[in-house]
């Protein structure tokens, strides 16, 4: 019965979290709804997301949303693109930028390359990319900004996988937020923090409001492809390229716990702890099957991205993961793009829906860590040279 009470407490906690999110934003995104079956994870996920998007950091808020748009657009995730387009406008972003990547400032355009590489073939990330972005000049990035951008990109790419896996992308037009009582052009997080209705800054936005809302609506149907260059660039089998000069990434040489954490936490304070908590939480989620299966899934995803563990026998992957599950994982991790005809059938039907969410979470976190490892290793190499 202890288990049952824990379960009940979990449900209770999840519903509380959802209610908070609902009350604060006027709507509950389907991502949170899906995750609600794992309240502990949901909490750390929401906290990380909130920290990256709204809290202290070197990048201005509208930049952050724009970067999120760029990242989501790589996978044609309409859901995230429209979500962040709306928030981009709410954060006083220039509506012009939403016409396409070429309308955005050069600085953001420069980020396109690393975005592309990280999204599809993260093993290509190299010191030279980092160097090019940090090279002093008018459009240069600072190391701290770049790290935040990279974390954002990785977060959004992996979130695309989750959205795709959980089928949330189908509701492409999120129901418009309830505007009653909350004046448009009004920052969401402010609303939660008390009475700001009389803020003088509202004097301006209210006149703009009607135009704004139209744009909002227009943006909801925005085509993600306008934020994408080189649309042909996609995932390629890492294994096939092994003969090339790309070496396998050895976790024993560069791991999240030993290396990635220290670097990212140094350059973007506290994010390391938040991400660490996410990875720990997903690892400690109660899994109805054997822990070996979990490890097999995690290592398989990393293997897809060229990251290998010395202490793992990869024969186990084939033993433990049935073909359907492998195909499903690969599709969710590498081709989370509903606009294209799926390369693999999504027929894997797990016993329970919660299993599916669990697998999706594993895919998302493993992918996030993989991208972070590649990006952070490139940054480390840049710093050493």
């Amino acid at each position: 019965d202890a288990r049952r009470t824990r379960g009940r407490r979990g449900v209770y906690r999840a519903s509380l979290l959802c209610m908070k999110a609902l009350a604060n934003r006027g709507r509950l995104d389907s991502v949170s709804q899906q995750m609600a079956s794992h309240p502990q994870y949901l909490e750390s996920f929401l906290r990380t997301q909130h920290y990256i998007l709204y809290m202290d950091g070197p990048l201005p808020v509208h930049y952050r949303h724009y970067i999120a748009i760029m990242a989501a657009a790589r996978h044609h995730c309409r859901y995230l693109v429209s979500l962040h387009s709306a928030q981009f406008l709410l954060a006083d972003g220039d509506p012009l930028w939403l016409q396409g990547l070429e309308a955005a400032p050069l600085r953001l355009q420069h980020l396109d390359h690393i975005n592309k590489v990280l999204a599809h073939q993260p093993w290509l990330t190299a010191r030279s990319h980092i160097q090019a972005l940090l090279k002093t000049g008018e459009q240069c990035w600072s190391l701290a900004e770049l790290v935040q951008a990279v974390v954002l990109l990785a977060h959004c790419h992996s979130l695309c996988s989750f959205v795709f896996g959980s089928g949330s992308d189908s509701d492409t037009t999120p129901t418009p937020r309830v505007h009653h009582g909350t004046p448009p052009g009004y920052c969401l997080c402010d609303a939660a923090n008390g009475n700001t209705a009389l803020s003088p800054s509202l004097a301006g936005p209210t006149e703009k409001a009607p135009r704004r809302r139209e744009e909002d609506e227009a943006m909801f149907s925005a085509d993600p492809s306008r934020f994408v260059t080189d649309p042909e660039f996609g995932y390629q089998e890492f294994a096939r390229r092994e003969e090339d000069h790309f070496q396998v990434f050895r976790v024993q040489d560069y791991s999240w716990e030993d290396h990635g954490f220290s670097l990212v936490n140094r350059l973007y304070s506290d994010i390391g702890h938040l991400l660490d908590e996410r990875f720990r939480n997903v690892a400690s989620l109660p899994f109805p099957h054997s822990p070996d299966l979990k490890r097999a899934i995690w290592n398989y995803i990393h293997c897809i991205y060229g990251i290998r563990y010395d202490d793992y026998d990869y024969g186990e992957v084939n033993r433990l993961l049935e073909r359907g599950l492998k195909l499903y994982i690969k599709a969710v991790a590498c081709y989370p793009d509903s606009s294209k005809t799926p390369l693999c059938p999504l027929s894997w039907a797990p016993v329970k829906a919660s299993d599916k969410v669990h697998v999706n979470l594993l895919v998302m976190e493993a992918r996030l860590q993989a991208e972070l490892l590649y990006a952070l290793r490139a940054i480390t190499q840049y710093m050493i040279a």
Binding site: A23, H180, T182, A191, N195, A197, H259, F261, D310, D311
Partner: protein, 780 residues
Amino acid sequence: MEKMTRVSGTVSGCTMFCHLDAPANAISVCRDATQVVVAGRNIFKIYGLEEDGFVERLNLRVGRKPSLNFSCADVMWHQMEENLLATAATNGAVVTWNLARPCRNKQEQLFTEHKRTVNKVCFHPTEVNMLLSGSQDGFMKCFDLRKKESVSTFSGQSESVRDVQFSIKDYFTFAASFENGNVQLWDIRRPDRYERMFTAHTGPVFCCDWHPEDRGWLATGGRDKMVKVWDMSTNRVKEIYCVQTIASVARVKWRPERRYHLATCSMMVDHNIYVWDVRRPFIPFATFEEHKDVTTGIVWRHQHDPYFLLSGSKDSTLYQHMFKDASRPVDRANPEGLCFGLFGDLAFAAKESLMSAPQSVGDVGRKTYPGGDRRYPIFFFKKPDVTEQFAQVSSALSVFESEAGSSVGMDWFINTAQSYLLSGKPFAELCEHNAQVAKRLNRPQESTTWTMLRIMFSEPANPSLSSNHNLNKSGNLPLVNSFSMKEMSAALNERNKENRQDNLHSLETNLNNNDENEETEGSEGQAEYLFGDAELDDDDLYSMEHDNQAAEEPEYLLPQEAFPLRHEIMDHPSAPEPVQEKPESPHVSGSEAESTCLTPMESFSLISVSQLLFSPHLPPKFFCPIVKEMLCYYAEQGDVQMAVSVLIVLGDRIRKEIDELTQEHWYMSYIDLLQRFELWNVSNEVIKLSTCGAIMCLNQTSTTLHINCSNCKRPMSNKGWICDRCHHCASVCAVCHHVVKGLFVWCQGCSHGGHLEHVMEWLKQSKHCPAGCGHLCEYT
């Protein structure tokens, strides 16, 4: 001591390095300090340590395609058996190697019991056949090298094991550090349960090391960038030292023969090796800066020789560092520190040797200043260990308290804020009043400024009155000023003397600068020197008017000329020199008092004359650039109070001259100050009187209203819209059932309500409450 001499005969050498073929993960040295083994993913070699360099002796990595068993995370050379080595493989194998084997492959035994990477192997210091391993899978295993399998398995029950170390003194004890921040002590005979466990760090503990001599001391290093020394000899494990480094600590090794020294290296970002004196945790005792990538392994070459350190690195080099070649950060660090406290106290830290002299002078000083002298030097002594040749570890800290109620405090600020009148009277009267206030508070410069403002901007309609009035006034004013000035400068002399005793010759330059900087803010001490300055300003203004008036008048604008003149004035002999000079005797300051009181005299005459001659003709606008300058000057001096007060009193006369942002900035600073001093009323008045939009709206922010939950009637403690206790949305609109975040209107009869617009719409259709309670709602 006997050992020492024996050692010094066998070990010699210089700082040297050699290139490896691949990055190293760990190194270990054999007992007699003549050979070192380097292990990594793609390297496993033994080098001989010669007088002038490393010589490769043996490559243990054999076979065409070496297996992962050769990929080493750690290596250890047996300290009893010179042919025996053990490695921890990244694939989870524990391998032992026997150099005495006749064939090329020296591998002796292979234990593949761990499921995950083995992070650490450790031989027992005295027992030949005992080997311990710690792995990522959370288990530690003890092997008897005579058997094929482990003899016991220890389960830490707390994540991955990062380090295991046999105690050097206690035969049965070993320590293990874990990824979750714990450290456990085990008895090798009892595999069922640890003897002790404590949390040493937040985040992984990457390494630990027993003190070679002190039985109970264990040093641990973690990802939280700290090195901690624990005393295990007591009942409760106690942290006795803590060193804060700048990056996560990958390895820690006690320095032989030096009780308080340990060496550390980092896993990320920082490539240096540091040697710390744990008693002096803020600065490394020595640094080795040779590596170009992170250092992965450090080891003291001989267990009784403190002068040789070997290190391997990811940059594929192996170094022998000589202690004499180390860089000593202490030599480059500034050993003195000085800081002003919140209440004008002065704290000053310096090496003891420097401080011993002034102490005696300070005693003399005490006698000279019987009244209100509460200075006390505090000294922290740490007797340096005679056996160590290092720089003194001790500094002395002295704290000099300011006299109670002395001018260094901020009382003047509070007084001024409360007494100034900013509105409600005619302009001239406001100025007059404020001038009096400033004068009363011994702030002659401000006082004169107010007077000048009144003169400049008074209505030209009754010039005769104001100028007459002014004549009388100014007849008094400068005199009074010069009087108070003498007093003041005397007070300042005292302070100067005091300072002199505080810091004495060697530190004088340092202190002088600081002294000056600090005092400009918030003490009239400085202001009164500047008084002459400002006063002269006005003089020159008038005399210049005199010269240029005809030319300038049509334009109604005083162009740049005003500014160069101003700067010239800065060089006037009566300007701040005295402070910089640091008077050696009362004489100097005496003359300085004279010189300052001269200036107002001059100005007295000039003012009166110029008033008579020109005031009727000068439009107030004429002065705006100067007033603007003056405001900026005050603001830069840190007296934002003056700037804002003048801004408010002058109102439209000056407002357009100063850009909105600057004004806003001044207002913000002043309001912030006022609120810190809890002068809420004044701060509110200032907010009300301000003309900046951004400031005026301050009164509308943070007007938090605490409410009770409409459902459970208890206070809403958290931010947001959901009650903590009953988890219902607190203020739900009765019409649309959403949370009301803006204007909430409700019926006082039934206390139902909602969004203003919704309720209005509803009432058009129905008179009944939208909540369905049947009440006939009434709204006014």
